[in-house]
Amino acid sequence: MSRFAKAVSVLSPVIAVAAALLVGGLVVMAIGESPLRVYSILFRGAFGSVDSLGYVVFNACPLIFTGLAVAFAFRAGLFNIGGEGQLYVGSFVCAWVGLKLGGVPAALAVPLLVLASAAGGAAWAAIPGFLKARFGVHEVINTIMLNFIAIGLTSYFVINVFKEPGQMTPQTAEIAASGQLPRLAGALQSVGIPLPAANPLNASILIALGAVWAAWFILNRTTLGYEIRAVGLNPSAAEYAGINVRRMLVVAMMISGAFAGLVATNEIMGFRYRYLDNFSAQIGFMGIAVALLGKNTPLGVLFAALLFGVLNTGALEVDVFTDVPRELILVLQAVTIILVVVANEVLTKKLREREAGAASQATEESA
């Protein structure tokens, strides 16, 4: 890639975000509020204190996992819309195992629950992976349908089987204390960062950073990742080169599902300590936007998730302290995504034209 191309690929999300803020400003104006006031509340809400920065990272954490899930599958040429279902199954399995771990030491319980979360997500994602590999059924349909099934099944089990007795709230009892991830406030305070003790930021973010590294490592430093990318770029060519395409499709979906399942480390192990029916506010679907904004690279996902963390955290502040409705923030987020896609398309096209121009010039010169 030329330096120009690199600059474009880094800059296009930035330009898109700036454009989205401008368009969002118009919407704010249309409802009679001052964009500057709303944006200043939004950014103060996200960056105004150590506490709010903690919330930014906390809100970004589950999106890192679902963003990685979408991005990873995408690299294998798969469009995994099923992050929502996979994270529910992963979280449910995590809580279910967590309820049974009384007396198990943390050194064992924590890794076990992390594994359970990933395994739950992976198993759920294996179904559309298998159906795609074996019967060629399109994964988009299957992952969407499996979302409904996962949401329905987990609801059923939480309400009818695992609900804490005597409670209205459709949630399980708390998981074993040894399986709970520590909050980071204490550790950060001891190194001089004054994060309030009530801040929900927890050790799951470290797992998320590990997952970003793992996704990068698998994709770029292993034979498996090479084969997955080969399948994503051209399945026929990959098959011709001796890669077992069907196997790769299933494996890629399972790894993708495992990332989605790891949302449980933040939601169950790190924050709520119990499974609450329907806890995810579309985290799985937001993962698609995160992956898109992050250009389907692990590092890109990390930054995109942080941006959404900023928007979500600031949005709450706007919601609480102004008359701007929450819906507006959703509009802003959707506009951001659309503009990213547009900016990406436009800039890539420009880039291609420019490179084609440069290439033809080069051939002319050499002739």
């Binding site: 400003g25 500057l36 609801s155 209205m168 009530a198 929900p200 506010a281 709450l316 609480v320 923030i329």
Partner: protein, 336 residues
Amino acid sequence: MMRKPLLAVLLLGIVLSLGCASDEPSEGESDFKVGMVFDVGGKGDKSFNDSAYRGMLNAADDFGVEFTEFEPGQDADREVGLRKLAGAGYDMIIGVGFLFSDAIKKVARDYPDTKFACVDYDVRPGEELPPNLVGLRFREEEGSFLVGVLAAMHTETDRIGFVGGMDIPLIHKFEAGYIAGARHVTPGISITVVYAGTTPQAFADPAKGKELALLQYGRGVDVIYHASGSTGNGVIEAAREAGAYAIGVDSNQNYMAPGHVLTSMVKRVDNAVYKAIRDALEGTFEGGIEELGLAENGVGYALDKHNEDLITEEMTKAVEDVRAAIIAGEIEVPSS
């Protein structure tokens, strides 16, 4: 990227809007600030949340308190939102709905000088509330018993229906009281019970409510009691369409389809919220669980100009007798 004229217009707009006054939370003469956080369905559900909102508005009118309100987008925002309000110096914070129970207790412990109230607080057996948190609970089964009596007396087919929102013990209280009330009048009455779903979304799905109600009306049911938040707006719509009758819930919904809403089981969330704010203002606030039934006027049935032609004198007498009997403890109302 941007065409220059557009950019100029935008900048101009931003500059102009800087001059515009923006709506700060409504200012009152008192510096007492109340924050309210809504349940699923939110403000504008014409039912549960609106009843709570009305209580806060009434308190704002009478005591001049300043207030703000919002509806959380995701579950984690419930706790975060409560904390933000507490951190911003709000004196009283009200969570509307049982989904706040765990979050509000945690936040109340962290902000002992702030007063908290939670509508429909989901209490655990033997649980102690922090002294700055009041859990407002209603004996919905008692009010539901009364509307069950009215439904059984009004039906011509001896078939009545019930549409619940989310299938949970809280809504089972409405169902149980309603059934007991109807059976109290007509022991052999046929009662069809259906729930809109198993997720909080079941309280915010009018299309589903209408569908479920039309299904029942099509099978000879002529009165349906709904306990389903804004889902019930569809039930009432269906009653109007089918020329049948619905019974509203939480707020007085008689006006929503005059002549087709037999009555409403009013759950006086507004009164409870109003009283909690007044207690906090006057320094008589007490933490703990507060149970509100017929005796406390926490629940009841609505009679107004929209349904006075539907409720006969005989019905009024019967239902008032039952009310007295329940308050006196002569009738036991089941809650599940």
